[in-house]
C-alpha cells in the first residue's frame, strides 16, 4: 500500500504542477491576476467535448482548436476587461473572478452536468510498477508536464519574449523605456496562461468526467501551489506541488478523504503566516509585511 500511495502521490503532484504553470505564468511571472483560470480550464474541456461529439471532428483536431480558442478568449479578456483596470489588484481580481463565475455558471445553466460529459483517454492501456496498476494516461501526464515545465523554464529565462514577461512585472516603466509594449506583452501572457490551462485540461480531464465544480477546485489548487512555491518561480511550483501532492495523497490514504482539501488550505495558511513570499519567492520581505 505504501508503494501505491507514493506512486499516486507523485502523479498527483505532477497533476498539480500541470494545473499551476499557466496560473504561475500570468500571476507570478507577469503580475496579472487571472482568477478566471478555472473557467478557462473547464471551457477548453467543454469546447473539445462539443467539437468531438456534436460536430464529429477528429480528437487531435478538436484538442488543437480548443487550445487556440481558449488562448484567443484569454487575449480578448485582457484587451476588453483587464486593460482598463491594470494595476489595481483588487479590481483585477474581482473582474476576472466575475468573468470566471459567469462562464462556469453558464455551463451549469446550460445543463452540462452529468456522467456523459467525459473525454476519451488517449491510449487505453495499463502499466505495472512494482505491484501497482498505473494507466497510460497518467504516464502521459507525467511526460507532458516534464516537457512543459522544461520548455517554460527555457522560455522564461532565455528567450527575449520570456524575459519581457518578467520585465513588465518587475518595473513597468523601465520595461517601457526598453521598447517593450506592456499591453501587448500582457495580452500574450494572459493568452499563453489560458492556453496552458487548456493543455492541462486536455491531458487531465480524461481521468474522470468534466464537472463544473472542478473549475473552482482547480483555481484554489493553482493559487495554493503558486503562493506556497513563491510567485514567479518555476522551481518553487515544482517543490510546492510535490509537498502539497504528497500531503494530500497521504492524508487521503491514512486519515480520511474529507481532510485532503483542508491539508492544502492549511499548508497555504502556514506559508502565508510564516513566509508570505513562499519557498522560492523573490519578493523582498519589506514589501510583504510591515
Amino acid at each position: 500500500m505504501l508503494l501505491g500511495t507514493i506512486v499516486y502521490a507523485i502523479i498527483n503532484s505532477v497533476i498539480l504542477i500541470l494545473m499551476s504553470i499557466g496560473f504561475n505564468l500570468t500571476f507570478g511571472i507577469s503580475g496579472i491576476s487571472n482568477f478566471a483560470y478555472g473557467a478557462f480550464y473547464i471551457l477548453a474541456a467543454f469546447v473539445t467535448w462539443m467539437l468531438l461529439n456534436l460536430l464529429g471532428f477528429p480528437y487531435v483536431l478538436s484538442i488543437l482548436i480548443s487550445i487556440v480558442f481558449t488562448a484567443v478568449i484569454g487575449a480578448l479578456m485582457y484587451r476588453f476587461v483587464l486593460m482598463r483596470v491594470r494595476g489595481q489588484v483588487l479590481s483585477e481580481v474581482i473582474a476576472t473572478f466575475g468573468i470566471g463565475l459567469a462562464i462556469l455558471e453558464f455551463f451549469r445553466y446550460l445543463g452540462f452536468v452529468g456522467v456523459e460529459y467525459a473525454l476519451p483517454v488517449f491510449i487505453d492501456e495499463s502499466f505495472m510498477i512494482g505491484n501497482v496498476y498505473v494507466d497510460m494516461q497518467r504516464i502521459l501526464i507525467v511526460l507532458s508536464s516534464i516537457v512543459l515545465v522544461i520548455l517554460l523554464w527555457l522560455f522564461v529565462h532565455y528567450t527575449s519574449l520570456g524575459l519581457a514577461f518578467r520585465g513588465i512585472a518587475q518595473d513597468e516603466r523601465t520595461a517601457l523605456t526598453f521598447g517593450m509594449d506592456s499591453d501587448r506583452i500582457a495580452t500574450l501572457s494572459v493568452s499563453l496562461g489560458a492556453g496552458l490551462a487548456a493543455i492541462a485540461a486536455t491531458v487531465i480531464i480524461p481521468l474522470g468526467t468534466i464537472s463544473v465544480s472542478q473549475g473552482y477546485d482547480v483555481l484554489i489548487n493553482a493559487l495554493a501551489v503558486s503562493i506556497i512555491g513563491g510567485l514567479g518561480s518555476t522551481g518553487g511550483v515544482i517543490v510546492a506541488s510535490l509537498l502539497v501532492g504528497f500531503a494530500q495523497r497521504f492524508t487521503d490514504t491514512y486519515i480520511g478523504s474529507h481532510w485532503t482539501m483542508i491539508v492544502s488550505l492549511l499548508a497555504l495558511l502556514i506559508v502565508l503566516v510564516i513566509k508570505p513570499s513562499g519557498l522560492y519567492g523573490k519578493q523582498k520581505e519589506l514589501e510583504e509585511r510591515i
Binding site: V81, R84, V85, V89, L90, S91, V93, I94, A95, F97, G98, I99, G100, L101, A102, I103, E105, F106, R108, Y109, I220, L223, I227, G256, H258, W259, M261, I262, L265, L266, L268, L269, L272, V273, P276, E287, E288, R289, I290
Partner: protein, 334 residues
Amino acid sequence: MKKRKERIDRGIKVRSEDIFALTSWREMLYLSAPRLIPAIVFLVLPLVLEPYWQRVLLSVAIFALLAISWDILAQSGMVSLGQALFFGVGAYCSGIMNHYFGISPFFAIPAAAIAGGVICTVLLLPVLRLRGVYFAMVTLIIPLMIERVIEATKIFGGTEGISGLSVIPSKWLELYILMAALLAALFGFRRLMDSDYGLVLKGIKDNDRSVMNAGINIYWFKIEALFIASAVGAFAGAMMTHVYRFVGMPVFALDYSILPIAAVMVGGSGSFAGAVLGAFILVPLSEALRALGGLRIVFYGVFLVIFVVGLPEGIFHFISRKYQQFERWAEVEK
C-alpha cells in the same frame, strides 16, 4: 474657439456651507435631504411592503451591514475577501448560545456580536502584519477551511447544522431592530471615519510607514478596526440565525463574502452610504432574477464586471458629484 468642460460647485452648495446653512429653509433642505432620505426610506418601508418583500428588506439590511463591515476594513487598508468568516462565526456563536445554553435571543445576539468580534480578531491576529494581497488571500482561505473542518469533524451539528432555535417574538420587532442597527451603523461609522480616529485609519491605508513614523502604534489601531468590523459582521450573522432559526455550514459560503464586495463596488467605496446603496440595489435585483435559476449568477458576474470596469467609482460617488457640482462648456483662455 476651443472649448473645455468645466466642473463647478453648485450655487446652493456654496450658499449652504458652514453657518450660512441656517439662512433659509432651502439650504437646510439641501443639506439634510441626503441624510433624511435613507432614514425615512428604511423606517417607512417595512410598513408599506408585503411580507415577501419584507423578507427581502431583511436580507438587504443584513447584507448592508456586511458591506459596511467590509468598507470599514477597506478604508483601514485591509482588504478582506472573507466576510463570511465574521458572518459565520457570529451565526454559530448565537446558535450555540441559544441551543446549548438556552439563552434568549435578546441576550444571545449582542453577546454573539461581541464574542464573534473577539474570536475573529484573535484568529486573524497572526496575519495582521501582512499587507495587501496576502491578507486578502488568508481571509479567503479561513472560511473555506472552517467549512471543511466542520464537515469533517461534525461538531456543532456537522453538515445538518443546528435547527429549531428560538424566534424573536414579533415580526415587527426583528425588522425594526435591524433597521435601527443599520441606520446607527451607517451614520455612526460615518461620524467615526470623519473624526480624527478615522483619519488615522485612512492614513494607515495610504502609507502605514509614515503613520508609524508619527509615533502611532498601527497594530493597535488595526486590531481595533478589525474588532469593529468583525463585531458588525457577527451581529449580522447572529440576526440571520434568529430570523431563519437555523445555522449550518452554508453560513461560511462564498456568497456571503462576494456579495458585500460586489455591493461596495457597485455603490462606491469610501463612504458607507455607497455600501448600503449597493446592497439596496443588488439584493432585490438578485431576488427578482431568481426566476431565471442558474442564469442569475451569470448575470451577477457580468454585472459585476461591467461595474468594476465601467464605473469604478460607484453609483454613490456619481450621484454625489452630480448633486454637488455641475458641468458646463467654457472657453479656453489664451
